[in-house]
Symmetry: none
Amino acid sequence: MVDVELVSSLVKKSSSKIILVVVDGLGGLPSPEYGKTELELANTPHLDSLASRSICGLTIAVKPGITPGSGPAHLSLFGYDPLKYEIGRGVLEALGIGFELTPLDIACRANFATRNSEGLIIDRRAGRIETSRTEELCNLLQNEIKEIDNVKIIIRPGKAHRFVVVFRGENLYAELTDSDPQKVDVPANPVTASSESASYTAKIVNKFIDYANRILEDKHPANTLLLRGFAKHPQLPTMGQLYKLTPAAIATYPMYKGLAKLVGMEVLECGETIEDEVKALQRHYDNHDFFYFHIKKTDTEGEDGNFIGKTKVIEEVDKIIPQLEELSPAVLVITSDHSTPCVLKSHSWHPNPFLLYSKNCLPDEVTRFTEKQCARGELGTFPAISVLPLLLAHALKLTKYGA
Amino acid sequence: MVDVELVSSLVKKSSSKIILVVVDGLGGLPSPEYGKTELELANTPHLDSLASRSICGLTIAVKPGITPGSGPAHLSLFGYDPLKYEIGRGVLEALGIGFELTPLDIACRANFATRNSEGLIIDRRAGRIETSRTEELCNLLQNEIKEIDNVKIIIRPGKAHRFVVVFRGENLYAELTDSDPQKVDVPANPVTASSESASYTAKIVNKFIDYANRILEDKHPANTLLLRGFAKHPQLPTMGQLYKLTPAAIATYPMYKGLAKLVGMEVLECGETIEDEVKALQRHYDNHDFFYFHIKKTDTEGEDGNFIGKTKVIEEVDKIIPQLEELSPAVLVITSDHSTPCVLKSHSWHPNPFLLYSKNCLPDEVTRFTEKQCARGELGTFPAISVLPLLLAHALKLTKYGA
């Protein structure tokens, strides 16, 4: 994509610091009960004060009307064309648990699940079993299944019912359909090849599923498994290579850590709370010039349709703003990867509230950090792929184009 | 174009309904007399109320500064790249009168016209003769001219002075200049080939014009004919194929019906008035999930420079809004294909007022449906090719992109 190349050619290394706060699923829709969006209802004195000193707008992650998954939505924010680089779910999950994929690997996201005596899936998450139980079951599977027809099988536990399966071998291809039917009261699907070259891989995967099912048979509620998002590691240039940054990621969920690693960020150790994340930022502030700071709980509450819960998380985010400002970054951005309106209980296409604070910005007339006010901010409704150039510019990391 | 392919790959069939009202030539410029645009002067309580509950913006049909013809302007709104698909005027006219073109056909738009004894065109529309007279004259021509050098000639009457001529044969090409000089007091132009391959076709067409002129010689005021817009049928994928829609068109003018057929819409029978069009919509509402609802008179008044006339048509449109809302579509859009400011008496490049109402939209701060207020709507000034994805998104017909 031309933009990326242009920006990349103009960037210069400097010590100025950028903090990009991604409040996952931040944007919303008015609830019938309150007649306001989550952001409008929340009490956010610090965000509003920051907005009054910032330039604001709304970002479109991919294209107007397109609801993005977390992968493409983050890639845009990191300065990568989300239509050029596709990241399979399996790859994200593998990276998120710290598993280093090789070019021989096909990774997929796996769930332990429950099926009834008729073979129908009745719980796609096996009652959300404990992580420790998933670890036991993964060990059991790994001990029993090490290789199928010369393809090495690697099984790694994630959180709760989630785990990752990696198929390592020659001539494996990821063009495979999911076994996860994405609904209950139906059987799991057989994995099929969507390209001719992947038919051998499909055979291996289906054999694996058969073996695993036999081993899990008496392990109710985790008496079966569902696989989805088969993928190979995409070869992305790092943010260091593209933008001369030394980026770090502060995130609590595996997938976001995985995304960060994919673009060459160092993932910083931190606890589980937003306050833990702030401490990690403070601790590592001197060692990086770009911080991706991810907050997950807004999205979780949005997906659960918990309107008040989401406003409470927003208020929690509001409280850390002074601590972020205290670090005096050259650029501080508060935005989101995609919207997750509680009324829809899912990701949506609605553009993301965006604010950029920098001593080099000319504040617009936005005085509250809400969807509506951001819509008439200086930046208007603009593509998220433009975010990184704006960060670099305001951090004075871009040289002039042309004489 | 990536956008279209992306959207096409994400669309899912659903029963939710979309109404796209195209108020032809809606946008305007302030009249010196009133200091307001047509929309600003018109009394539009229903449109304004709808705008307050909608997201608004201004659309650019093709590119900034480009004045679009009706073809490209509509293609954009229907989700087709107007720079990829070119539709000749002749093709539109042929489709509009229900003539099915074959791949062997070159179609053109024809006018009966008046020329004086010196051979100069003095009326490009033959005093807008009655449709019945045009039918008589077309019959006369068709009876006398059936074939020229093995090329079949097909002549079909349109409304008033308009008709269609189709040349059917092997090795015909449409790269031909118009015989219509587009002004009076000059002779008609000979048709010339703009590509070498079309020179044979030019010869046939000029022979046809000569024959026709001899036949029409004593038929004043329709004593000659003018041809323009030579074109072959472009092979467009249908909206059903691209967007899994079952679209219907409600329009009173042939060209718009033709456009609708070109993208695979079913053209619904309806009378001549806007109220007739509403009845057609109500009658067929259960059978389709997408309705293109075209209103012509705004454009006609704009082309005539009739400022008050255009505001009256806008007020007429305003009155039908409650009837449209009563149908409870998932998405209701009011917009235009292009602007036709009365002060210019022609199509213009000015972007089109746009409003989208849906229970899944977050209303912006627009409270009146005018050019100026739409400019600061959430959508800002945006390409019309993004309209269809937005319609599909708000009708919940698009799945997520990426993991």
